[in-house]
Symmetry: C2
Subunit: 217 residues, 2 copies
Amino acid sequence: MSGSRSDRIAETLEDQILRGRFAPGTRLDETRLADEHEVSRTPVREALQRLAAAGLVEQHPRRGVFVREIGTIELLEMFEVMAELEAACGRLAARRISDEALDELDRVNERCHAAMEAGAIDGYYRENESFHHLIYAQSGNGFLEREAIRLHRRLKPFRRTQLHLRGRIAQSMQEHREIVAALREGEAERTAALLRDHVAIQSEKFRHLMAGLRETG
Amino acid sequence: MSGSRSDRIAETLEDQILRGRFAPGTRLDETRLADEHEVSRTPVREALQRLAAAGLVEQHPRRGVFVREIGTIELLEMFEVMAELEAACGRLAARRISDEALDELDRVNERCHAAMEAGAIDGYYRENESFHHLIYAQSGNGFLEREAIRLHRRLKPFRRTQLHLRGRIAQSMQEHREIVAALREGEAERTAALLRDHVAIQSEKFRHLMAGLRETG
DNA sequence: ATGTTGTTTCTTGTATACGAAAGCTTGACA
DNA sequence: TGTCAAGCTTTCGTATACAAGAAACAACAT
């Protein structure tokens, strides 16, 4: 999976797209990318096809591949699905989670809190991600875990933009604690509801952010 | 999307794999497939990469691509996720569904019932699929709808094997009616729970089926 | 007899070459 | 001056050629 050139190119391109090096709507020229990476068109094509399968780019036959324009509506839809996936993970995890994992969640939350107080944004994001990934894993369903990770990763760049909103981080931390409490009690439905709201709020905040941007910009 | 040769080859291969023309674990030889389809290796490779992205085959670097072995455990995991996705669709649909769609669901259920009484297995499957697809669409979330359809399609061949169990079809029909009733009442949580159980039962039946096969076979 | 190593062959991964289709430019005509 | 058409360029899709890595097999040594 990681040996061939085309894999590395796919990784690089995905990273660059998610980081915004290529604006949405940009055409990705095979030849240019081939020159840039100092390979032939073949591995570039294969990389692009993977990105197309992952939904990051669109292929128009005989026209070229374009960086996918992710509209506000679809983004909100994706957040909604993320909320449901997290809820599902929580529901299952409430029944299956181990004591060790609960302690680990506590530890992650402590590190998360410390990072927040230290103003270490990157550290906060990392611990926050660990928290959610741990819950995915504790669902005991590997397939669900992979799907959740996939969507989480896809939404990553958009999540960053809205977490800067004042007060949100502290509130998010509190929600984390409540989620762990519900998991510890083994309350499946409450865990699910808490997680769904926890993610749905991000979507709500994002909607406001976009509305604000549309007015000013 | 549908113009090039590689797309048609990917479709054909996917169909053949799902229908069992290639046993799980079989290596798919690029050259052989190229000869078979009377094209060069290039479009075959591109088709195979799509199948890999869809999770139907596995690519081992420098080794070749192999038809993915779907173990019992992963299959159960997938059914569990399907149950959660359907539940999510139901929850959202309960709030957003239109009267026309409710009537359409009734009509589909009637056709489904008729097919059952007539012993038209294929017709039953078709209408059953329509029923679920309609609910996906009525979630009002296009992204969720596409994800649900994707997984539904993936599970299709395995669903067939277990619905033959005696009495299951009649019970399934009754569940459909209850689901429509819950949707009509706008009861989100009940709709979600009903749909989750409706799908989870299939998974349970499947588990029994596999257990039986393991003993006899 | 068995394990190891070298060789051979097969298959993948990448490069390059070629044909076809879509868009752009240029020129002519109304 | 505007519009349409023909050819020209560019880029995609496919074919073929070549290189490199892995597996199988055989031969040799222990």
